[in-house]
Amino acid sequence: MEEKYKSDLAEIRDMMHRSSRFISLDGWSGISVGIIALIGGYLAYRNIFSRLPELDYYPMPHVDGQLGQLLFLAAGTLFLAIAAAIFFTIRGSRTKQEAIWDAQSKRLVLNLGIPLLTGGLLCLILLFKGFIAFLAPLTLIFHGLALVNASQYTIKQIRILGLVLIILGLLAMCFLHLGLIFWGIGFGLAHIGYGVIMKWKQ
C-alpha cells in the first residue's frame, strides 16, 4: 500500500520533470561546442587580434579586410557549434527514444534565443562601430544570461554554466586586453567541463 503511493509520487515527479523540461541535452554537445570555440578563438587571435594594438576602451579604426575576416570566422564558429550541439542532441535522444522537436524544446529554443539574439545584434553593432574589445565580454555575458534564462526549461546544471559565463564576462570587461583568454575559458573550457560532468553523471 505504502509502496504503491511512494512509487506514485516518484512517477508524478518524473512526469512533471520530463513534461516541462527538455532533458535530452547530451554531454557531447557541450564538449564539441567547447572544442570548436577553442579553435575559433585561437584562429581569431592568430589571424586578427595578434595584429591589432592592445584592446582598450575606445573604438579601433578597422584595418582593411579584418572586419570581414572576423565576421566570417565568428559566423563559421557559431554555425559549427550549433550544428554540433544539434547533432549530438539528436543522436542522444534517438538512443533514448525521445522526441526532439516538441513543446519542451521549442520553449527552450525560444527562451535561449531571445537574450542570445539581442546580444548577438548588439555585438554586431559594436563591431561595426569599431568597439572590438567589448565583443568577448559581451558575448560571454549574453550567452550566460541566455543560459540562465533557458535553464528553467532544461536540466538545471545549465544555470550554473550560465552563471560561470556571466562572471567570466564581467571579469573580461575589467581586463579588456585579456578578453580573448576569458572568452576561451568560458566558451571553450567551461563548455567542455560541463559536457564532461554531464557524461560522468550519465
Binding site: M1, E2, Y5, K6, D8, L9, E11, I12, R13, M15, M16, R18, S19, S20, E98, A99, D102, A103
Partner: protein
C-alpha cells in the same frame, strides 16, 4: 487507514491517468502526440484514459488545426488541479502517518 483511503481520488488510481494529470498541471496545455510520447502508450489506451478524465471534468480539450491537420490540446481544469492537489495531500498524509 480508512479515513485516508476516502480522500484518495479513484480517477488517479491508474498510473496513466496519474501521469496525464501530472503533466497537465505543470504545463499550460499539451497535445495528444506529446502526451503519447511522454507516457509511451498506444493511441487507443491514451484516448480512453483522456476520455475518463474528461468525464470527471478534470481535463478539457480544444480542437485546432495546425497546417490543416487536426491538433487537440488538452488542459487541466481548475477542478482537476484541485482534485490533484487533494490527492497529493492524501498521499503525503498517508506516508507521514506510517
Amino acid at each position: 487507514m480508512k479515513e485516508f483511503l476516502e480522500q484518495f481520488d479513484k480517477a488517479f488510481e491508474n498510473k496513466i491517468r496519474l501521469g496525464i494529470m501530472s503533466a497537465l498541471v505543470v504545463n499550460a496545455h499539451l497535445d495528444f502526440k506529446t502526451l503519447k510520447n511522454l507516457l509511451g502508450v498506444t493511441d487507443g489506451n491514451l484516448a480512453s484514459h483522456l476520455k475518463s478524465l474528461e468525464k470527471s471534468a478534470y481535463i478539457t480539450y480544444k480542437k485546432e488545426f495546425l497546417n490543416r491537420k487536426p491538433n487537440t490540446k488538452y488542459y487541466a481544469t481548475v477542478q482537476g488541479k484541485s482534485a490533484f492537489v487533494r490527492h497529493l495531500e492524501a498521499i503525503e498524509k498517508l506516508l507521514k502517518s506510517t
